[in-house]
């Protein structure tokens, strides 16, 4: 499965590359030129990691195979510059299996070009413009506060026997990243509207 996904992803990149270039040229010959062209339009997401520096949310997500669908979606929605921003951000990161749980047809619809902003909206519903380590989330529960997300929506946070749930989805793991926190969940939090 993973292999298949990877293969298709490579294909996407290649087709993308070929579209950008003179159709007369052979792909392999144009590789260098592609790099140059895209550098004109790169955003903060393309800043190279510095050795020894703590990786940001996107760099961490990219390094973990279980987030490959999320990463692809982030790039398709064009929100990659936001998740590398200095922050602070808290990203609720759905695993590949979370995307697989969505009703059939949902993902297909979302990735259509005309739904780019809808996809972006769903993704930013997973990003809080704030610093929420587990300790702070527990405090939020105690004080009866909700989590305000970059989508403008509020998410319910609960503490069940020391485990934190957001909108009923359990935080499986937390990773400190340079621009905030990643909390791993196994659901895609699709807003009602």
């Amino acid at each position: 499965m993973k292999t298949i996904f990877f293969t298709f992803f490579v294909l996407v990149v290649l087709v993308f590359v070929s579209c950008k270039n003179d159709k007369q040229k052979v792909k392999s010959e144009t590789k260098t030129e592609v790099t140059k062209t895209s550098s004109e339009h790169r955003g903060q997401a393309s800043v190279a990691a510095v050795e020894g520096e703590q990786p940001n949310a996107l760099q961490v997500a990219k390094s973990i195979e279980d987030f490959s669908t999320l990463v692809t979606a982030i790039e398709a929605a064009g929100v990659q510059d936001a998740v590398v921003n200095t922050g602070p951000l808290t990203v609720l990161a759905p695993l590949n299996s979370a995307f697989a749980k969505l009703p059939e047809g949902t993902v297909e619809t979302l990735v259509k070009p005309e739904n780019k902003s809808k996809l972006a909206f769903i993704l930013v519903n997973h990003v809080a413009p704030a610093n929420y380590p587990i300790k702070q989330l527990k405090k939020e529960v105690k004080k009866g506060r909700k989590l305000y997300m970059a989508s403008g929506k509020y998410l319910v946070v609960e503490d069940k026997d020391g485990e934190i749930y957001i909108e009923g989805s359990k935080i499986l793991k937390s990773v400190k990243v340079s621009n905030g926190w990643i909390h791993v969940i196994d659901d895609v939090l699709v807003p009602a509207e």
Partner: protein, 661 residues
Amino acid sequence: MKTMIKSFIAIFTLSVIMVSCGDANSNKSTKQSGALSGNAAEKVYVAPGEHDEFYAFVSGGFSGQLAVYGLPSGRLFKVIPVFSVDAEKAYGFNEETKPMLMTSHGFIPWDDSHHPDISQTAGELDGRWVFINGNNTPRIAKIDLTTFETTEIIEVPNSAGNHSSSFVTENTEYVVAGTRFSVPFPQRDMPIDEYKGNFKGALTFISVNQEDGGMDIKFQLRMPGFDYDLSHPGRGASHGWFFFTTYNTEEANSLLEVNASQNDKDFIAAVNWKKIEEYVNNGGGKKIPSKYAHNVYDEHTHTATSTMKKEVLVVDPEDVPGAIYFMPTPKSPHGCDVDPSGEYIVGSGKLAAELTVHSFSKMLKAIEEKKFDGDAYGIPVLQYEATLAGAVKQPGLGPLHTEFDGKGNAYTTFFISSEVVKWKLGTWEVIDRKPTYYSVGHLMIPGGNSRKPFGKYVLAMNKITKDRYLPTGPEVTQSAQLYDITGEKMELLLDFPTIGEPHYAAGIPADIVAKNSKKFYRLEDNKHPHAVKTEAEAKVVRKGNEVHIYLTMIRSHFAPDNIEGVQVGDKVYFHVTNLEQDYDVPHGVSMIGAQTSELLIMPGQTETFIWYPKQVGVWPFYCTDFCSALHQEMQGYIRVSPKGSNVPIKFTLDGDAVDAE
């Protein structure tokens, strides 16, 4: 399951192909970047000897200064010292300018300069003065655009974190300063956790004398204890009103990153200052004891004076019913920007998912129809829907600041998604978006917050540059980015480094300002008490242990240049006058062992520094500004004798008395 994923991937693949092909076709610049970047270079190229079209006054942030750049070239012309001492220009080092940095806390050699604003007449830029706020020890400064020097600084009492400043009303009747931190007002010793309801926020209206720009605090509004972030004046129909964004309407006093983000909506405070002015003119308001410095630089004496003021006029909102209203605005709004017509007030909720635009005419109607949603500390809160003109949906993440091109478009910066977004007033549709490099704060269109914007360029100012320039160790430069906005789509033309930190800027067509720029100071108008206007008047005078050296400078010597009779333990004043009367012939002077900066003296100007000679010997002084072909010959000696020595005061030039024929 696998089938689903496969079909998802297949469809996804197709759609990406479509998207990428579409992008490549519609965005020709991607394909023809070479040709287009050539074009961009042409657009910002100002040939040697040619002048730029605009001045850009870019704040220096934590440097405390104000930088002057040319647009479109991005060339730096001058760093004007405002709130921080500057050894290059002797600002805050010479005796004449030390009073400029006096405050109720004593001499403060630094501040954090934020929001420059150019004076206006009838809502249009007039190029007389630039005002800028010092954030940390609250102050407002005025820079005279004939000399490009700071000529006045007024401290703002009862304020802390002077951030919602220094914006001018349509005819520069007032420059306005709002407090970021609410504090006990007046200050007193009290527990911090009793903040709520007890701390207050000062909104200060400083009147501006139309003759000489003289500033004076007309009144302070004692508002609820919120944080006041930014502000802008009404214009056109809304002239007479001023709008302030607020956050922390929760009135939290700790961990604001969480506690000040609880409310769905904070407020934009709409203040009818004309109404309050009338109340004050009729004797309204309370004078309360206060302490704040007012520092004025006199161009004729070339000297600043500092006066400590003792009271300030305070107005409480309940004193003037119907003068202040709150318009709910989502999520800690930062920018508070009024379009050229004065009808739209844009609130950039920095954590909000959309940009909120209020309508001034709807606001008036809502007030008339009393469409209130309760009150906050007695100030009516207008119903959100009643003042709302529209919202720009999902425009980006982290909106901060909006300016206008005068052609019906608005441009907003988004910090988190690092982009400038162009959208249309009235339809609220997004027209274009361009990335910034990186994490943009504010942006500027010359006149972009006036009745008459010059919508040719937008300048975006970035907080972070990471890999954009050659590295310079852990600290790298901040930057500004220039976009051409004459077309439907924005075009990035130039990316240039700035002095830190470029918080905000104001721009103006060069022809409004350049023609008034002073060339030199006339000697005959020099009223400095220690000026000497000819070499013959130069002298050295002992008064007890003080020695006053009245020195002149002209290409390429000092008069006198041999001085004897100074003793260890003396306090030696150098009163130095530049006798030149030509454009761009400053001279400098420095003395070995002087615990201060050089002086940089413009033609016709007099400046003073103090030297405490500590060692016996013969010590040189010299000209520090490369003034002439014989600049290296422009020097002198001072003989320092032991304390109590009987060497008499003697001063000569070429072996003769300075007044020798």
